[in-house]
């Protein structure tokens, strides 16, 4: 069976709660069957609203959402057959783990022995065998979370929505749960739409990430592309660390451009600038800049080390470079002594390809 390309499809979807402000603006989004797509964005960017429209708890003000080729705006939530994991787990506190998992099966009138098999399978998937008779209140946060995941999958939905499911967990647990959810997704091949504001979570788990801001999808692409090739300065700044230079394009040719800063000129890769004289913000990932480069690079400048912070596996160095006192470098600890000392003058080099000239916002 070939996978459906646009298993979930948002078509020109607008959403407004008060008739004055659009929370979601003309949203277009296609999600392939079996994909793990994360909606990532700051709070208030419209990502949770999108999820709620997909689940059926909010109706689009305009436009249509398709699931498996069918328009679903007029289908009530309980008939959509979409599994959902809520932010605070939403386990039924008066039911045991078993009864929680049995709920979606009972309302579907699945015979008891078949239901028991499904529940066993779902519980073993989240390694919670033997917890069936516990009440949710007797479980730890991580265990509750896993029950919620099992419950959303137990009735074999084609699509599972997760609304910041790991928000309430501590850091270590969150990381191990990220892998666990990712592995579950890989093993059963269900389509997952995941909402989070945590970029590392999004980068770890997803096939594709939709970065939301201001009610719009800013970029929809795979994690590596999103990190390496942000298409605008919001994405560049929201995902990962970022060094920026504000300037004006002074020359543009052969897929390269010159950007004039206050007192220097750098070479950059023109992404959203097209002609001379445009204002731009040049974005450069910290790990793409090297100290005392041996290879030939088309940007080599001198900077002064302002701060050195030891991080164990790497050292962060803050450098005053070309009038930007917040220029960050990451130096892996294995590298030879590079003369990184506070106050030293050093040479910094990077390829113009990695310096992306984006919109000036």
């Amino acid at each position: 069976m070939s996978k459906q390309k646009d298993f979930v499809k948002f078509e020109n979807v607008d959403k407004s709660y008060d008739g004055k402000v659009l929370v979601v603006k003309n949203l277009q989004l296609d999600i392939e069957e079996g994909e793990f797509v994360t909606m990532l964005g700051p709070s208030g960017s419209g990502k949770t609203t999108c999820l709620m429209m997909l689940a059926g708890f909010e109706t689009p003000t305009n436009g249509e959402i398709y699931l498996g080729g069918k328009a679903i705006s007029s289908i009530p939530p309980h008939k959509r057959g979409i599994g959902m994991v809520f932010q605070n787990y939403a386990l039924f506190p008066h039911m045991t783990v078993y009864e929680n998992l049995a709920f979606p099966l009972r309302v579907r009138k699945i015979p008891k022995d078949e239901a028991d098999k499904k529940i066993d399978k779902a519980l073993s998937m989240v390694s919670l065998q033997g917890f069936a008779s516990r009440m949710p209140g007797q479980l730890s946060g991580g265990q509750q979370q896993r029950v919620a995941v099992a419950r959303s999958l137990v009735f074999d939905p084609q699509l599972v929505l997760m609304d910041e499911p790991l928000g309430a967990l501590d850091k270590n647990l969150r990381e191990s749960m990220q892998y666990e959810i990712k592995h579950i997704h890989e093993s059963i091949g269900v389509t997952v739409v995941y909402v989070t504001h945590d970029q590392s979570e999004a980068l770890t788990m997803s096939n594709r990430i939709a970065v939301f801001n201001d009610g719009k999808v800013q970029q929809l692409s795979s994690p590596d592309e999103l990190y390496e090739k942000p298409v605008n300065s919001f994405v560049a700044e929201f995902i990962g660390e970022n060094n920026t230079f504000n300037g004006e394009v002074s020359d543009i040719s052969d897929g390269k451009c010159k950007v004039k800063l206050a007192n220097a000129e750098i070479m950059a890769n023109p992404i959203s600038v097209k002609s001379k004289g445009e204002k731009t913000k040049v974005s450069l990932r910290p790990e793409r800049a090297l100290i005392n480069p041996k290879d030939k690079m088309d940007n080599i400048h001198n900077g002064k080390i302002e701060e050195v912070i030891y991080h164990g596996d790497h050292t962060r160095v803050r450098i005053n470079l070309l009038g930007n006192p917040e220029f960050i470098l990451k130096v892996p600890n294995s590298s030879a002594n590079l003369d990184i000392k506070l106050g030293n003058e050093i040479k910094i080099g990077w390829n113009s390809e990695d310096a992306r000239a984006l919109d000036p916002k």
């Binding site: 939530p77 309980h78 039924f92």
Partner: protein, 417 residues
């Protein structure tokens, strides 16, 4: 502590336990002093008077003390035939003393509770006793009125001999101890209390049901509406709560009477004929309507406080898992509100079972409750011991309901706010 365990000492060499007690003693005294005013206030104004009132229901010393010699002489009487001269003489002696103290009226009231007909013969006896000659009191007393020669009346006096009695409780259940000492029910046409007890339970039960039916949706709205609307609604719920009970009951009288607003409205829309206005007051309907309205906040508030804590995502989860809105409500939301339902129902039922002013004003003859009967005996017949006996019966009824509730639902599940 076993003898082998080494006693732990503080650095000063004092045993740790002693030291701990000493350190905590100050705090305990402080804590006690803080609650002491309220404690004494409660003992003086609550425990003592209520205890005294309840004690009255079994206390029968009054007659015992008024006729000490009579009861002493009666110890040898078998109660089969008229007592002999010794009893009559003792009774005469007690009676003369009572007349001197002007207390014979109290005696007649008391004896009249036991058997009707004592009032007039005691009055007569007082008039005649002034001209009694010494000796042969049996003949002289029997000559006063033929009832004095009736053994039944002497048995009635004898029944008042014990210092304590449970008769008031029997009377509250329309029963009494007959001449043979057996507990029997009174004649059917005089059984007023049983009817009242049953009616009290019935009205309290239905008022609770009506309150529940109306309060549940209101409480749900209160808990789920946006703040600005729910605050307004909350004020609507609380406003009658802050209004005087009497005012609210009186307004129901204005609304419900035959020439009242509700009837005018029914006539206006042609629902009933002008000359056939239904009676909605001075009967059970009046009690139901007014009590339901007045007790409604007591149901809304506990329900609201429980519903407020139920996360809306639970209903959403129920729906997203495939439950219809009704299934999600019935399997998920409703079970979670049970603590609030329990608290609200218990509160309303207990309040309704002892309700007094409202049924007295709008209940009429068929809508009055047992508490109105208690008030009647407190104020009109002045039979306080009977009133307090019924009060205690009411109280034990409430305690039984509380106990049952605890058995069935569990008192820990109650949530009042």
């Amino acid at each position: 502590m076993s003898s082998e365990t080494k006693q732990i000492l503080t650095t000063d060499g004092i045993p740790l336990e002693v030291s701990l007690k000493k350190a905590e003693k100050k705090n305990k005294i402080k804590a006690f002093l803080l609650v002491a005013p309220l404690l004494f206030f409660l003992i003086i104004t609550y425990v003592f008077p209520i205890g005294d009132m309840l004690f009255r229901s079994v206390d029968d010393k009054m007659v015992t003390q008024m006729l000490p010699k009579t009861f002493k002489a009666m110890e040898n009487w078998d109660g089969q035939e008229l007592p002999d001269e010794e009893v009559f003489a003792a009774f005469h002696e007690d009676f003369i003393k009572l007349v001197e103290d002007k207390r014979e009226g109290k005696l007649s009231t008391q004896l009249n509770y036991t058997k009707n007909g004592f009032k007039s013969i005691i009055k007569k006896l007082r008039r005649k006793s002034k001209s009694f000659e010494e000796g042969n009191y049996k003949e002289q007393i029997m000559a006063v009125h033929k009832r004095w020669a009736d053994v039944e009346y002497w048995r009635a006096i004898q029944r008042r001999a014990p210092e304590f009695t449970g008769q008031k409780y029997l009377k509250g259940m329309d029963m009494y101890v007959n001449e043979e000492g057996k507990i029997v029910s009174v004649e059917e046409d005089r059984r007023i209390h049983r009817v009242l007890w049953l009616r009290t339970l019935e009205i309290a039960f239905f008022v609770t049901v009506f309150c529940f039916l109306m309060a549940y949706p209101i409480a749900h709205l209160l808990a789920t509406l946006p703040m600005k609307y729910s605050n307004l609604l909350m004020i609507c719920v609380l406003l009658p709560f802050w209004t005087s009970l009497l005012v609210r009951t009186a307004s129901w009288m204005i609304l419900l009477q035959q020439q009242g607003i509700v009837n005018d409205f029914f006539v206006g829309i042609g629902l009933v004929a002008d000359d056939n206005r239904p009676e909605m007051m001075y009967n059970k309907t009046g009690s139901y309507v007014a009590m339901t309205q007045i007790l409604l906040p007591f149901m809304v508030l506990p329900l609201y406080s429980v519903m407020k804590t139920i996360s809306p995502s639970l209903m959403r989860a129920g729906k997203s898992l495939g439950g219809t809105p009704f299934v999600a409500f019935w399997k998920v939301y409703f079970p979670l509100t049970i603590p609030g339902i329990g608290a609200g129902c218990l509160l309303v039922f207990i309040l309704a079972i002892g309700y007094y002013i409202t049924p007295a004003l709008v209940g009429g003859a068929s809508g009055t409750l047992i508490s109105n009967q208690i008030a009647f005996h407190m104020k009109s017949t002045l039979d306080w011991s009977f009133a307090s006996a019924m009060g205690l019966m009411l109280l034990s009824g409430v305690l039984v309901i509380y106990w049952l509730y605890n058995k069935i639902v569990g008192i820990d599940n109650i949530k009042l706010g």
